[in-house]
């Protein structure tokens, strides 16, 4: 049976060249980078090279990039670290309702500890309105955290414009660019952000490695306390192979950037067009214009996402859903909720994300099977167009 993975926003396979680059650092060049002997310096050097590559992908200086264990840790560090460092200045943080849980839950943790959090609304395409941000800033505001590209609906924010607003008010700006990396051209200097979170496993690098860009001069407290790694800002023996892999993945992403974006966009558009042509009562969630190149988040009315997901899985197709049934907390997607999608329709949403290895044949196969699955589930369903919801 054909296997079609369409969940590249969840995670990506490590590319062959990336794994190849990592291999020597497991058992041969395994020295602790903090060690003074040759075996240690070799590891240190490998990290330096990787840091250069990852920095280059986002237009940062090498010494502004700090490796973390994940995008989650980068988000946590940015938010909790800035909140702590600037607590004498204020206790107000602005974010949005559509952030990743790493940002949302860090903010909720801070809310329990005396900070005030404003969750900005978004329009029905998932975009933050500049005036909403402008109006939300008070003289107690110390941090604004707005994600670059949303992980569920793929909406891209105008980070440059939002940064312009915070800069004029002297407020620190963090962006979670985990989904943006490799999928949108990023230059931290042009954007003007102070902090940016990224993660390796979304760009065909290994899981368990991320990074936080911290603009030179930004005051931020440490999050991980211990040894003097990462220029004394992030403790813990370095995930040597993870860092090397992230470096190589970043290098490939940079080389391949335009190709990747063009190819994935085309396939994605073909997919959406096909779905709309062949299946009734569907709609696209998010923005058509400001959208992650590989993302198609579609609601199939009158049926539920987990059931679709399982049927598709049995047919070799991997996708994800915003249905409550699929989430650990049994609540429907907070992102689709923020976009104003009615709850019963959130349950019927599927996210397809296309990646480098996806082919047109894959898409055709998925369309064929999707048509069948949707028909089958609609036949079973207790709701329908005729009956209504």
């Amino acid at each position: 049976m054909r296997q079609v993975y369409l969940d590249y926003a969840a995670t990506t396979p490590v590319k062959e060249e990336v794994l190849k680059e990592m291999i020597p650092f497991f058992s041969e060049n395994f020295g602790n980078p903090s060690s003074l002997y040759t075996k240690g310096s070799a590891s240190k050097e490998a990290i330096m090279i990787a840091r250069r590559k990852v920095s280059s992908l986002i237009g940062a200086d090498e010494n502004e990039l700090f490796f973390t264990s994940s995008g989650t840790e980068a988000d946590d560090w940015a938010i909790i670290g800035i909140a702590d460092a600037l607590k004498s200045k204020g206790n107000h943080i602005i974010t949005t309702g559509i952030e990743h849980h790493a940002v949302l839950h860090s903010c909720e943790y801070l809310a329990k500890n005396g900070y005030e959090i404003t969750f900005l609304p978004v329009d029905k395409e998932g975009r933050v309105r500049a005036e909403d941000l402008e109006n939300a800033i008070t003289d107690k505001t110390i941090l604004v955290s707005i994600m670059y590209v949303n992980n569920e609906v793929g909406t891209i924010q105008d980070i440059k414009e939002l940064c312009r607003i915070t800069k004029s008010k002297n407020v620190v700006f963090h962006t979670d660019a985990v989904q943006a990396l490799g999928n949108v051209k990023i230059n931290v200097k042009e954007l003007g952000v102070d902090l940016m979170s990224i993660s390796g496993h979304k760009i065909y690098g290994p899981k368990g490695i991320g990074a936080l860009y911290i603009k030179r001069g930004t005051k931020i407290s440490d999050f991980m306390h211990g040894g003097a790694q990462e220029n004394k800002k992030r403790a813990g023996t370095e995930n040597l192979t993870g860092i090397v892999g992230f470096g190589k993945a970043a290098e490939l992403a940079e080389l391949n950037s335009e190709n990747h974006i063009t190819k994935v966009t085309e396939l994605r558009n073909y997919f959406i067009d096909q779905v709309f042509e062949k299946i009734d009562d569907v709609f696209l969630n998010g923005s058509r214009e400001f959208r992650h190149p590989g993302n198609a988040n579609i609601t199939f009315e009158f049926i539920e996402g987990e059931a679709m997901l399982l049927y598709l899985d049995l047919l070799g197709i991997s996708v994800s859903t915003g249905s409550a049934c699929s989430s650990a907390s049994l609540t429907p997607s907070h992102v689709l909720t923020c976009l104003g999608v009615p709850v019963e329709k959130i349950h019927g949403s599927l996210r397809f994300t296309i990646g480098d290895p996806t082919t047109k044949e894959d898409i055709d196969y998925v369309i064929e099977k999707l048509v069948e699955v949707v028909a089958k589930l609609r036949a079973i369903s207790s709701v329908s167009k005729a009956k209504g919801w």
Partner: protein, 149 residues
């Protein structure tokens, strides 16, 4: 698949008793699309015995599997036997459900009661097993989308 056992998957992939009976003797719906699960069961009754049952379900894999197995379970049973079926029995029949999916079995057990309630209303019958069961009252409860029981 991991999450569901083979029995659940089998009922999910090839559900029994799909559809809606024509001119059913009783029909009931339980759950709500807002909560992600809504189950409709229709039954045919002859001499207090459920001779046929069909379901239509909007919901996740375990809701569909629960509907399938629940309709299987009531066919051939007396009304009283059907009313005595607990969500625990539905789960057992399915060989177990993940903890977070227990509410789906509750849904099925309630949908059975709702269908029998309809039958009782239409025929002026009273069943001990329906005591305290009010599909409308429960509807309200549904709005909170109880996920655990």
């Amino acid at each position: 698949m991991g999450m569901y056992n083979d029995k659940v998957m089998d009922h999910f992939m090839n559900p029994h008793n799909i559809g809606e009976l024509e001119n059913p003797d009783g029909i009931g719906t339980y759950g709500s699309p807002v909560c992600g699960d809504m189950m409709q069961i229709s039954i045919r009754v002859q001499d207090e015995i459920i001779t046929d049952a069909k379901f239509k379900t909007f919901g996740c894999g375990s809701a569909i599997a629960s509907s399938s197995v629940a309709t299987d379970m009531i066919i051939g049973k007396t009304i009283d036997q059907a009313l005595a079926i607990t969500n625990k029995q539905i789960i057992d029949e399915l060989g177990g459900l993940p903890a977070v999916k227990i509410h789906c079995s509750v849904l099925a057990d309630h949908a059975i009661k709702a269908a029998i309630y309809d039958f009782a209303q239409k025929n002026g019958k009273i069943y001990a097993g329906l005591e305290g069961f009010d599909p409308n009252e429960d509807d309200e409860e549904n709005d909170t989308c109880d996920t655990e029981e």
